[in-house]
């Protein structure tokens, strides 16, 4: 607590030359008016009984207990097919039905019930998640005057709550006070906007006194403010407290789902609760997404509906004709006694009512079980995704999760990935990796690109022994440093060895700049005795760690001084040095530099400056450019390796010079008016010149494990990766390099805003830049040339306008990589939508923070990174993985499999229902279109549910064209998905044609064989039951053999389902035949007595089965022989174990099996190899 106070004072001190908080001018002019009607009685929640606001319970469920049934039913019958079957089920209760009602209603009830159960289960999970949040505990001021624990759901508007360090705020609060005297607190808003740096909030002066539990007993106040709205960065309201009115601005508002950091506790008044809070107002209900395959499936359903309609029309027309002309002469039908339906007098009515019958009869064309089978299959597929041990992160203990199962196959068709940066690609941790001091580079920790390039070359040209040793030496040294933020390794500098360097003085200066030029605060870790640093940005922290490790330990900061302990000195004794801070010129994104002016122990005034290289280089004195050339070279190397660089410089100041400037500066500081900022800027600018360049640092924005490799694989699989980040352009570019999205020699097209006031002018300028970029790409002849598009948020705002966005997209798709920086969450979503709609391809968005939610929801597939705090991204996502690198397996293995499985499954489904359904139609022509089914009701009932459903489901769940290892080794195989090779109309229509053929073969073979002749030696002729059963047997055999032909992967499950289905048919016939004839009718004893002893029955089965599968068999045999697809060849290679015998070939093909890509590690290594080869050639 005491320490906190000190620090609080420090924060207020003149350390900050620029005002930290700017009052927002928007006062409470409109308070009380429309949209600003909220009144909160602080500490008197009971007053609210008169005007209740929403409680703090949040609910993200779709249904509640009562609405589940009607709502879920509505959802189910929203599908055309289901609605159709509902109609059929209702009609089956009338005499029009060709089937018994149970055979229509039972499958529908089963299908709908199963889907609803799934919906219910998913909603239940959401409910449990809500409950977990609602039952979190927080300290709330109670009437007895103390603070007691309450669950979040019980928090009411007006409550005073006390939130402690690292807790989330339970609602939107007005900050009253904190443990710091000046009422500052730090919050982390990662869940809201994805930014990981801490934001300072400051209480009103008036409420600072309320900083202890007891002070609240008599606290009363009234807040009048705006109504709930989704704007995170604005707040309009005022507080009436002790008779005065204070304006409240956003700096006093603590938002729900942000987190208190670096502050022991805060007190706050609840303003917005539950769904009124800004974060909940921001959340949009995740749209229900459907996969491309499923959308296409709808079209197929429509096609089938049209077929159904057509054949029903034919049928009812035929029926009407028969009724009109034949019925009167069919005396055996007693036409004179016929009801309306059969009455020859009213053929039109008969025809119309027969339409209903026909629509029901041919309903088997529409696979009722398709939806439910797909749903079951997808749930099982999702289970496999969840269970995949190779997507389980040992560090966080979180497995991958398919949160919605209806997009599995979409994973196999992704074309563009839109990725967030911080938390997704990077860990948001900076490591000090290299530095250049006085023109000498230090730091030997390997850069991964160099390592891989050398390795690749060594593999390619085995005679180059030199390179090999390089690889070997680098491999040895590649071990991880245990110090967080520090991955530097160089014996020349470590352990005080720098003293022996010839440039020791410069090195010391370099370290001094690192140790002094910052705004961080040291904290003593009492366990280790080490100092840790609380810095504004992680790279500043890494500098201090680096300085500490090099022997310059910053250990104390007072109001006016920085204390540094030097471990290694010429004398060998540690020295503590004090640097009096005279001025701090802070870092801003515009200035891109930070300067401190200090007076050291000897009274010398020093200006220490660190900043972006371009800025510093402009400000060097003539002498200061001594190391400029070397440093620039090193900086380029670092930049190429994806490191974040800063240049360090200093300047010695004369006393008089400083005083003169300081006067000027103070004047500017104390001036009031609009140009104060400009004056300060000018003053700072005056001093920060004539610098002497000391060196440069290279900090690694630590990538998450396996990210470059994963990006590489994804690029090889032909996927495009766009990075959308809220970060600065420089950082984004660095990460681009680190991830191999960018590389040296890649032409960067930076589109920036000119800064002009005129909107039209800016737009024209941007348009010109885009056109130029396109022109440049067109004129490029080098096939290896790659372009990168880099654009920032402000420019993007223009580029996304309707008249320009297509042009922008045109440029972007031409570029190998696209990086958008400084983009807002909204823009992320807009870019995603642009890509999705503009290219018409499948997009996948991946991100970890709440700022990615829009993009995740907008994309065809949203992937959330789980494992970090805050679940917004995950909650909005369709899939969650704990690390970016698991994306590779998710897409390349599971996506590929699922796509193929679902595609094959749907094709087969249509095939089987056409093959079966059309036989019913043909038979109609032989029954005077009367609507008599050739099959027993029970056969039909079982057809979809038992006899043909399990094999196709086992296909959908277990089929693997190639093993997972092969998928990963040959990423190019993934392209079968995005190119939609397995669900194009050619294939779909092919399968439908196959179904048509199959139905014709089965029907006519049976009809002709069992026409009028005896079918047994005992002279009996075939009746309806015999014909139907034989035909059905043929169908069961044909369809199941057909699916066996389409499978390429048989585990025992496939065998059981396929052969079991056929066996099940015979078992059913036996059982059904053994039942009382009252149930089985003409099927009584049919197998035992009539069919099994008749050779013709078995012959017909064999004939029809072979004849049905023959065309498909010939087709696939031909295809494999002469137009093999990639997976065919790989299957064969594996089958003949060629990969083991001829490993060279296998490796060679693996290295070739990538899409031509210009991004990623491999592409970069290739580029590097080209470069080195060119050099080698020159030497020779």
């Amino acid at each position: 607590m005491a320490r906190g106070r000190i620090r609080a004072k420090l924060r207020k001190s003149h350390l900050y030359s620029f005002c930290l908080f700017r009052s927002s001018g928007s006062g409470g002019q409109s308070i009380g008016g429309p949209g600003f009607s909220r009144t909160v009685y602080c500490n008197e929640p009971q007053v609210l009984n008169q005007k209740p606001y929403r409680s703090n319970i949040i609910s993200t469920t779709k249904y509640n207990f009562f609405s589940f049934l009607p709502k879920a039913l509505y959802e189910q019958f929203h599908r055309v097919a289901n609605l159709y079957f509902l109609g059929c089920a209702i009609a089956s209760l009338t005499p029009l039905s060709p089937f018994s009602p149970v055979s229509m209603i039972a499958p529908l009830a089963f299908v709908v019930g199963l889907s609803m159960a799934k919906e219910g289960l998913e909603d239940w999970r959401r409910f449990m998640q809500d409950r977990e949040v609602n039952s979190r505990k927080v300290h709330v001021h109670n009437e007895e005057g103390g603070f007691g624990k309450k669950t979040w759901e019980d928090v009411r508007v007006g409550d005073v709550v006390k939130v402690e360090k690292d807790q989330f705020f339970p609602a939107d609060l007005l900050l009253l006070s904190s443990n710091y005297e000046d009422g500052i607190c730090y919050v982390e808003t990662m869940n809201l906007d994805g930014e990981t740096n801490l934001k300072a909030k400051k209480a009103l002066e008036a409420t600072l006194g309320l900083d202890e539990d007891d002070n609240f007993n008599n606290f009363k106040g009234i807040i009048k403010c705006e109504d709930p709205n989704p704007s995170l960065y604005t707040f309009v309201g005022n507080l009436e407290y002790e008779g005065k009115v204070y304006a409240i601005d956003p700096t006093q508002i603590l938002l729900r789902d942000s987190k208190l950091r670096n502050t022991e506790f805060v007190y706050g008044v609840v303003i917005f609760t539950g769904h009124d809070s800004k974060v909940m107002q921001n959340s949009t209900r995740s749209p229900s997404k459907r996969s491309r395959v499923e959308k296409k499936m709808d079209y197929i359903i429509y096609v089938l509906f049209s077929v159904l309609l057509v054949i029903s029309l034919i049928s009812s027309f035929g029926f009407a004709v028969e009724i009109k002309y034949s019925m009167p002469v069919w005396w055996f039908m007693r036409p004179q006694d016929a009801d309306e339906y059969y009455s020859p007098k009213k053929p039109v009515i008969s025809g119309l009512s027969h339409m209903v019958t026909a629509l029901m009869l041919y309903g088997y064309l529409i696979p009722i079980s398709l939806y439910v089978s797909i749903e079951v299959v997808k749930v099982l597929q999702a289970t496999f995704i969840n269970q995949d041990i190779q997507m389980y992160d040992e560090d966080t203990g979180i497995p991958a999760q398919a949160r919605t199962s209806n997009l599995n196959e979409e994973l196999g068709q992704v074309d563009t990935i839109l990725s967030d940066k911080t938390g997704t690609l990077t860990c948001n941790q900076m490591d000090f990796l290299k530095c250049s001091i006085a023109g000498i580079p230090y730091g030997v920790s390997p850069s991964e690109v160099e390592l891989a390039a050398a390795q690749q070359m060594a593999n390619d040209q085995e005679d180059q022994g030199e390179l090999k040793t390089l690889v070997a030496s680098k491999k040895e040294k590649a071990h991880k440093s245990p110090i967080k933020g520090f991955n530097f390794e160089d014996n020349r500098l470590m352990n005080g060895n720098w003293l022996k360097e010839p440039t020791a003085a410069r090195i010391m200066l370099f370290c001094q700049i690192l140790a002094v030029c910052h705004t961080a605060i040291p904290e003593l870790n009492e366990e280790t005795g080490n100092y840790t640093y609380e810095a504004e940005s992680p790279d500043e922290g890494s500098f201090l760690v680096a300085a500490r490790e090099l022997g310059f330990e910053f250990f104390q900061r007072t109001q006016s001084s920085v204390f540094v302990r030097e471990k290694y000195t010429a004398s060998g004794k540690p020295i503590e040095r004090e640097y009096k801070i005279l001025n701090v010129l802070e870092f801003t994104s515009k200035r891109k530099r930070m300067t401190v002016i200090v007076r050291d122990g000897e009274g010398q005034i020093l200006l220490l400056c660190k900043g972006a290289d371009s800025i510093i280089f402009d400000r060097l004195s003539k002498d200061g450019k001594l190391y400029l050339e070397d440093t620039t070279r090193h900086l380029n190397d670092y930049g190429e390796a994806g490191l974040r660089t800063l240049a360090l410089a200093y300047r010695k100041l004369e006393e008089s010079e400083y005083t003169a400037w300081n006067n000027e500066f103070q004047k500017a500081k104390t001036s009031i008016g609009a140009d104060r900022d400009a004056m300060l800027e000018n003053a700072a600018d005056m001093m920060e010149r004539d610098l002497f360049l000391v060196g440069a640092t290279a900090v690694e924005d630590k990538l998450q494990k396996g990210v470059p490799q994963c990006i590489d694989k994804l690029a090889q699989a032909g996927l495009k990766l766009w990075v959308l980040t809220g970060d600065k352009m420089e950082t984004a570019i660095n990460i681009g390099f680190a991830c191999s999205l960018l590389r040296q020699g890649m032409k960067q097209i930076c589109i920036t805003e000119s800064g002009s006031e005129d909107k039209q002018e800016v737009k024209e300028d941007i348009l010109k830049q885009i056109t130029n970029g396109l022109e440049m790409i067109k004129q490029e002849n080098d096939p290896h040339a790659a372009f990168a598009l880099i654009i920032d948020g402000k420019t993007l705002a223009y580029a996304l306008e309707d008249d320009m966005k297509l042009k922008f997209l045109g440029l972007a798709v031409e570029c190998a990589s696209v990086i958008c920086c400084r983009v807002s969450p909204k823009q992320k979503a807009l870019v995603t939508r642009l890509v999705k709609q503009g290219t018409g391809k499948t997009t996948l968005a991946i991100g970890d923070g709440a700022n990615d939610v829009g993009m995740i929801q907008e994309a065809d597939i949203g992937v959330g990174i789980s494992g970090v705090e805050g679940m917004q991204a995950v909650m909005a996502s369709d899939f969650s993985v704990s690390q970016f690198r698991f994306l590779e397996r998710l897409l390349v293995v599971h996506g590929h499999w699922c796509y193929k499985r679902i595609a094959q499954m749907i094709c087969y489904f249509f095939y089987k229902n056409i093959a079966f359904g059309l036989t019913l139609f043909y038979f109609e022509a032989f029954t005077g279109f009367s609507g008599q089914s050739v099959y027993d009701d029970w056969y039909m009932l079982l057809f979809n549910v038992v006899l043909t459903s399990l094999p196709v489901m086992s296909l959908g769940v277990f089929e693997q064209d190639v093993s997972s290892e092969v998928c990963l080794e040959f990423p190019a195989v993934y392209q079968q998905g995005p190119r939609n090779l397995f669900f194009d109309w050619y294939r779909i229509l092919g399968w439908m044609g196959n179904g048509l053929l199959c139905s014709l073969i089965i029907f006519f073979i049976n009809i002709i064989i069992l026409y009028d002749q005896a079918f047994r030696a005992e002279g009996q002729t075939a009746d309806l039951a015999v014909l139907g059963t034989t035909m059905f047997t043929c169908t069961v055999w044909s369809l199941n053999c057909q699916i066996a032909l389409t499978m390429s992967h048989f585990t025992w499950i496939q065998h059981v389902t396929i052969w079991g289905s056929i066996a099940a048919w015979y078992i059913f016939l036996l059982i059904y035949g053994a039942l009382s004839p009252r149930i089985s009718g003409d099927a009584y004893q049919i197998l035992v007595e009539a069919l099994a002893p008749a050779p013709i029955y078995w012959q017909t089965t064999l004939l029809a089965t072979i004849a049905c599968t023959l065309p498909y068999m010939a087709h696939i045999a031909y295809q494999r022989c002469f137009e093999p697809e990639d997976h065919h060849i790989i299957q064969e290679i594996k089958y003949y174990r060629k990969d083991v015998e001829d490993q060279h070939m296998w490796t060679r093909e693996r290295s070739k099996a990538r899409q031509k890509t210009k991004i990623g590690f491999t592409a970069r290594v290739d580029a590097k190899i080209r470069q080195v080869r060119a050099k080698l050639n020159k030497k020779q």
């Binding site: 500490r548 705090e869 009252r1078």
Partner: protein, 349 residues
């Protein structure tokens, strides 16, 4: 030796601790099933497989086809279409009036045996254009009534032939009502040829579907007379003509068993048939045929089966052959990587 920067990712140590117990529970359990690594056979349609499969089919199918064809050829069949011939000349243009009149319907036909016919010789009647499979017709029966005497009044499904004068009809329904009623008497060389009418129906039908205690009641006593009448003193289980008729045919052209002649017939035997041409097929232009046929192990005369087998077998043989030829002419080494898409058109896809 660890330092931390405050704004880097949150409380690593704390969350790791709390994750520890959770970790085990969330870790997917390894099993070959969940990891989709079950042992599997992955057959491949190699040319050898394809050719052998086609060959195998043709090797199996062609003999079956030949045998079936021979069996079918062994069957001797005499078909006599008589519906026009049995109408007296004066009524040739108005057959319906004739059939509905009270004129005598007797008619004599002579059949010549072309080939030796071995017993049993099955006698069929064949009707044409008779929609026994019409939905209205098929449904018009009551299985429970046929089975048990107790449910003799269960006639709800029999409309419009459910009751007569308010009394339930047994057997009810259109099917029974329209029972075929032509009769045939055969004589060979003036010697009566016995026609065995026992055992022409399915045994299960006699035993279980048509009750031994169910006797015809009120049958054909309505105003509209359909087909045959039944002897009310014989239980349904013994009315085999009815039982055969009640097995509705699948197609509008059908044969039904009339009886068996348990005697060999020699070539050039002249069989005299005295038939009662009672059944009205004239109103719907239906043909009537009398068929005498022997059977083979396959059943009746059925060339199609043999031909179909031969066709499919031949087709498979042809396919096997053409695959072999094509494979010899333009072989593709299995697993030849040069066929991989990235090798075939190196410029990308």
């Amino acid at each position: 030796m660890s330092s931390s920067t405050p704004s880097s990712s949150a409380g690593g140590v704390g969350s790791a601790d709390s994750a520890a117990p959770r970790r085990n529970s969330k870790r997917p359990k390894y099993s070959k099933f969940t990891q989709q690594e079950l042992p599997a056979c992955k057959p491949i349609l190699t040319p050898r497989w394809v050719i052998s499969a086609f060959m195998l089919v043709s090797i199996v199918f062609i003999p079956i086809g030949v045998v079936s064809l021979f069996a079918s050829r062994d069957v001797v069949e005499i078909i006599d279409r008589y519906e026009t011939a049995c109408v007296p000349d004066g009524y040739k243009n108005d057959k319906v009036t004739f059939i509905q009149s009270n004129l005598t319907k007797q008619c004599n036909r002579t059949l010549t045996v072309k080939k030796r016919m071995k017993k049993p010789i099955y006698v069929y009647y064949q009707l044409d254009n008779f929609y026994q499979n019409h939905r209205r017709y098929v449904k018009s029966r009551s299985d429970s009534q046929l089975k048990e005497n107790s449910s003799w009044d269960d006639v709800s499904s029999c409309k419009p032939e459910d009751t007569s004068n308010g009394q339930p009809i047994v057997p009810c329904g259109l099917i029974a009502w329209s029972l075929f009623n032509d009769t045939y008497n055969f004589s060979l060389n003036d010697q009566q040829l016995a026609v065995n009418k026992k055992g022409i129906s399915w045994k299960s039908d006699r035993d279980s579907k048509f009750g031994k205690d169910v006797f015809p009641k009120n049958f054909q006593n309505g105003t509209l007379k359909g087909g045959a009448t039944l002897n009310p003193s014989i239980p349904l289980s013994e009315q085999e003509d009815l039982i055969v008729w009640m097995r509705t045919a699948a197609l509008p052209t059908f044969r039904k068993l009339y009886g068996k002649i348990e005697q060999d017939l020699q070539p050039n035997d002249q069989i005299h048939v005295t038939l009662d041409n009672n059944y009205n097929t004239y109103s719907f232009n239906g043909k009537k045929k009398l068929v005498l046929s022997t059977t083979s192990w396959l059943g009746g005369k059925n060339d199609f089966l043999g031909i179909a087998y031969l066709t499919v077998g031949g087709l498979c043989f042809f396919l096997a052959l053409s695959f072999t030829v094509v494979y010899l002419v333009k072989p593709r080494r299995l697993g030849d990587p040069s066929y991989l898409s990235w090798n075939r058109n190196p410029g990308g896809h």
